[in-house]
């Protein structure tokens, strides 16, 4: 068992637990958040294991990969903005490091984004968003409809104006997930390709999990990073169970044939009659169109209505899409938390940490989550930029205080 100077939170385990212990850190969940946590933990010298039937799967297989700290800013989410921006700033180095470690390109593309308005009401709304962005110290430029169409000639003639945000980029989440699996393997992370069934708690301390095949995995610290399933692990005491729910998103993938390229050169988004629509063009020719937002439990059915609405709204924004091959339709589950922000770091149960609830921002928040979790595993505390995201904000006391 490896011991590094950084394992300052050495659990004071009993002898019995010590003999069963198989790693310093056990990550439950192998989506991008679990993977980045495991990778960073292993880099810090922790012996690290990860349990997931299919590492690299999860919501990242569906997500479009917009790194939209600015264009995703909403009223009342200024705290989350700070974390989003911190992660966006880390992306260039993160992508370079991951590529160096794995030899894989994760499709990080500094392409910028354009949010447009299709009618006078949308335009007024976008003006408000612009004002909010400026109040929050963010850079974005207001463009006339004509200027928008000069940048992106495929946009509908009806575009009434837009916001150009040069700092919102994109990454390919599938490549990101694959690269993180490789990075974990190379850093010595042990993969247990099965489901975690139950958290083991011994004397008020999380000590590991029991897997679906009955294996007992023990660890000094357990990180629950199960995405939308995080609230379902049995054995987690009620007061630390993360309040995370699945929010379904249907996403389409079209292909831009070479003769049409580039078609779109940056991410384009709009609100069409209250629904958010975006189109994210990849260098490979893939064009991702998303996304619905549905509260239907763990349902990942692709529906006629979902596909229809996405195509209808995307067509209103970029009429030319009807000529493109529709190559994939898929639904994923965002892990939604009550305040749309992630739950990071230690819980009230010693030995159990959370890295979940990233909702719409999982891909964007991957770099900062890895750093924050590694810090929390090593020191037992959250770094300053992550303090507001402690899972303890959803404790029973915190909720009743809020209500009063």
């Amino acid at each position: 068992m490896s011991r590094t100077p950084e394992t300052s939170v050495t659990p004071d385990t009993t002898d019995a637990a010590d003999t069963r212990r198989t790693s310093d850190v056990l990550v439950v969940g192998g989506g991008i958040i679990g993977l980045v946590t495991a990778w960073r933990a292993a880099q810090r010298g922790f012996t690290t294991a990860l349990v997931d039937p299919e590492p690299g799967g999860g919501a990242a297989q569906v997500a479009a990969g917009m790194l939209a700290a600015v264009t995703e800013l909403h009223y009342g989410e200024q705290t989350l903005l700070g974390l989003n921006l911190a992660s966006a700033r880390r992306y260039p180095d993160f992508a370079a490091e991951l590529t160096e470690a794995t030899g894989q390109d994760i499709g990080y593309r500094r392409c910028g984004a354009l949010a447009v308005a299709l009618d006078a009401d949308d335009r007024a709304h976008l003006r408000e968003v612009h004002a909010l962005q400026r109040r929050s110290g963010l850079e974005s430029e207001w463009l006339s409809g004509r200027e928008c169409r000069r940048l992106e000639p495929m946009l509908a003639p009806g575009v009434r104006g837009g916001l150009r945000v040069d700092s919102d980029h994109q990454v390919d989440p599938r490549r990101l997930a694959a690269a993180l699996v490789t990075a974990c393997e190379r850093a010595g992370v042990t993969f247990h390709r099965t489901w975690a069934d139950r958290l083991t708690v011994v004397r008020d301390r999380a000590t590991g999990v029991v897997t679906a095949d009955g294996t007992e995995l023990s660890a000094g610290q357990v990180v629950l990073a199960g995405g939308s399933l995080s609230g379902r692990l049995t054995g987690v005491p009620d007061d630390v169970l993360p309040p995370v729910r699945p929010v379904k998103g249907q996403v389409l993938r079209l292909t831009v044939p070479k003769r049409y390229a580039p078609f779109l050169s940056r991410s384009v988004r709009a609100v069409v009659r209250g629904s958010h629509i975006y189109l994210v063009p990849r260098e490979s020719g893939e064009l991702v169109v998303g996304a619905t937002s549905e509260e239907l439990g763990w349902d990942t059915t692709v529906t006629a209505g979902g596909v229809y609405e996405l195509l209808r709204d995307a067509h209103e924004l970029v009429p030319g899409i009807t000529e493109l091959p529709l190559t994939e339709t898929r639904a994923g589950l965002r892990p939604g938390s009550p305040d749309n922000a992630p739950l990071l770091g230690p819980t009230a149960l010693p030995g159990l940490l959370l890295a979940t609830g990233h909702y719409r921002n999982g891909v964007l928040l991957t770099p900062v989550t890895g750093d924050v979790m590694a810090h929390a595993l090593a020191t037992g505390e959250l770094p300053d930029e992550a303090r507001p995201f402690t899972p303890r904000r959803f404790g029973a006391a915190a909720l009743s205080e809020q209500r009063a």
Binding site: H74, Y75, G76, E77, G231, P243, V244, R245, P246, R273, G274, E294, E295, L296, G297, W298, D299, G336, S337, P338, D339, N340, Q402, R403
Partner: protein, 264 residues
Amino acid sequence: MADDPFVLGGTSFTSRLIMGTGGAPSLDVLERSLVASGTELTTVAMRRVNPRAHGSVLSVLERLGIRVLPNTAGCFTAGEAVLTARLAREALGTDLVKLEVIADERTLLPDPIELLDAAETLVDDGFTVLPYTNDDPVLARKLEDVGCAAVMPLGSPIGSGLGIRNPHNFQLIVEHARVPVILDAGAGTASDAALAMELGCAGVMLASAVTRAQEPVLMAEGMRHAVEAGRLAYRAGRIPRRHFAEASSPVEGVARLDPERPAF
């Protein structure tokens, strides 16, 4: 207001504000807004929520002790609306349904013919039907005639925030109705809700005005006060409008100079 209960389909409520959940930026903001609004009845679109999914908006309502009013938002035909209502009753165990049958996506205005048809079917099926309708006094009367437990006319299109565009129609509907009349759709700010109550509405239903406000929790509290204020004003009876001023300070018994007779 305990001495002035709001009775809907046999159930008595203290709050006259019915909330919707669409457009809320997060569950947390929604929860705090619902608490601030004082609502006891909140509508949820059955096509967008799975009643069996844990941790969703329904769990929030359950935790807060707020009654769920399932609605049929997103339905374009009587057939779809009836099916959605039946699924909601089965899943939630409530006969209450806020019936919406929409004519088109651009205006989201009700389709009166499909609406009346669905209302009739659902009333016969034992539902307590609360139909979202145009501000048409004739249609309101017909909905009441087929047995709806309330009528819910729109002030202006859903989410438009344009307020009550035809207060006169609201007065006509209220004057003839024997069931509660509830403003549904159009409220943009507190004065819209107060006006509805002053016109004699029994309640106000709103969602976007709160959920899409910059500070939803503050607007929810504002709406609560507006509904209460409007109701009190309605019960108190407003003074007649006059063309000229009438002094509000009493003039009787006050010494007066008689221009005919010098005071000395």
